[in-house]
Assembly symmetry: C2
Homo-oligomer: 332 residues x 2
């Protein structure tokens, strides 16, 4: 084991924190330590929970802190990545201006990397996941919202104001006609393709649909559990209206992807999050729309894939950011 | 002069080639040497003209080739930047698969950088032009078409298939309703904001406009010289319809800019090309629309400026790429 390096990756979410020790090849040494975030208990409690989750992960790996080379922490935005600060994230209320990086660095006395959670997930997929063969990649993460990350040759596009890869707010329809997004603007990708908005569009489509559809039967009986997952399952089962909702979702995602082809022109575009469960049929729907909508020359070669690390991408990517930090600090 | 390094920058266009020797601080040592490209004479003649333009530039700088550290060449696409090849560019017909970089390198025995012309112009503005204080920048170049370039911390986003920063083909309206672009797709920024399409929109607006407008008088008398420049001049003079056309142009450009804010989140967005002549009023129109349309947090701080190097940006940027090549080859 001489020379093997270990990196701690901590992924802080609005509900839980996940943390594991990851080796130099991106493999977690144990199942992640998981603790509830309880943002409502305040940021000092939050910082202490982060430290405790890290300690539990190190213990779960049968290591001590002396074995750890560096630590990586990922949190949701708003944040100031360069300053290592959580600013004012909507799903960590009432936290404000929390000096995450300096706190963790001070407690553990280790080089500490700090990154946006979606960027970290993208880096995880780039390092050891779906995009490990790619030289550059874009990740769209589909969940309650739509997040994103852009990696080019081992560089994470953080943005000058920590908003690089905010792909949920890429506009895919015009500001006068587009659907209204949670951010207040019209036409954002998130207003079409987040799980929440897939459900919303399905309801609207049902209201306008004259035919019979299992979606309507399901919705009437189970309106409290009418989720994007249910819609994708009904589509898999052949329901015509559900198929249309799913195909529209693929179309909207392809519009987002084609904007990234004309700007970043990546090697690979990866989709992650719950909808990935819909499998190859959904991937090939997105791929087909991308081929039709993207700029011809680069679109011929771009690869459209699904993420492979699931919800581990965040902490693996955070550990990868810690590793990057140490590599970049080394003289070339 | 001991230790001063000199870089040759050559910008190959469909009509002319421009070349100058540039010092380590980005200052050209003379007015550029200019020669006609004559693509119709074939690619061997084209390569020889490139070499001759380089020789003339070195002579104009009162230097010899021994004084030159490296050479940078910029050409329009389609191209393979990594391979140093012109592929099949529409405005260099009938050239095909021209090994530009290896040819220049072979003739002059100097390290030779190769770059897309719009990327080179962006790097020129980043190095010593409008964005020299910026850490990251996006350039939109407005001409017959709309080109672009993205620079992040001295790295040019070339794209995996040499299509990074193809900002003219960023979609700002949907594929079913948008204006038709020269590339065949609907909704590309270029279909709205290139000089050609500004004129086209002005004609359409005139046809639908019931009021009196100097634009119509001008067009009737001078339909062969009804250019974007004329429309911008009439807007400056207060013509209501011309003002609307110009404001719409600013709106479309701001839609393009806001897509870059959500993906790259740059420090600065720079607009270059002929329309820059319209001055501060046009810049502030774009800025106003960006503030309204961009993602709130990063948009508060992003700077919207006009390019400052004019048509010298290409060869200065090409020389800058040569300088980058030499820096990157050095051990850190």
């Amino acid at each position: 084991m001489a020379g093997e390096r270990y990196f701690v990756g901590l992924d802080v979410g609005g509900t839980t924190m996940k943390c594991a020790v990851v080796n130099d090849h991106g493999h977690p040494l144990s199942a992640p330590a998981v603790m509830d975030t309880h943002p409502e208990r305040g940021q000092d409690a939050g910082l202490e929970t982060m430290c405790e989750t890290i300690r539990r992960a190190v213990a779960a790996a049968n290591l001590t802190l002396d074995d750890v080379t560096a630590i990586g922490v990922a949190t949701p935005g708003l944040m100031d990545i360069k300053a290592g600060l959580i600013l004012d994230p909507p799903n960590l209320k009432p936290w404000k201006n929390v000096p995450v990086r300096d706190h963790i660095k001070g407690v553990f006395k280790k080089p500490t990397a700090y990154q946006n959670d979606a960027n970290a997930a993208a880096y995880g997929e780039f390092w050891v996941g779906a995009a490990q063969e790619a030289k550059s990649m874009v990740l769209f993460t589909l969940g309650t919202g739509v997040g994103g990350g852009i990696i080019i040759n081992d560089v994470i596009i953080e943005g000058e104001h920590s908003h690089g890869g905010e792909l949920g707010h890429l506009r895919i329809d015009t500001p006068d006609r587009g659907r209204i997004c949670g951010c207040g603007a019209r036409g954002c990708l998130e207003a079409y393709a987040s799980a929440t908005n897939v459900v919303r569009r399905a309801r609207e489509d049902m209201a306008a649909y004259r035919g019979t559809t299992k979606m309507r039967q399901y919705y009437t009986a189970n309106d409290d559990v009418f989720t994007a997952r249910v819609i994708f399952d009904l589509a898999m089962g052949g329901d015509e209206l559900a198929i249309r909702v799913v195909d529209d979702t693929a179309y909207y995602l392809a519009l987002g992807a084609s904007a990234l082809i004309s700007t970043v022109d990546p090697d690979m575009i990866v989709f992650g999050g719950g909808m990935v469960g819909a499998g190859e049929r959904f991937r090939s729907l997105i791929d087909g729309h991308v081929k039709r909508l993207g700029l011809t020359y680069p679109t011929k070669s771009v690869k459209i894939t699904f993420a492979s690390l699931g919800s581990d991408a965040g902490f693996i990517g955070a550990a990868g950011c810690a590793r990057l930090l140490v590599q970049q600090a080394k003289p070339a």
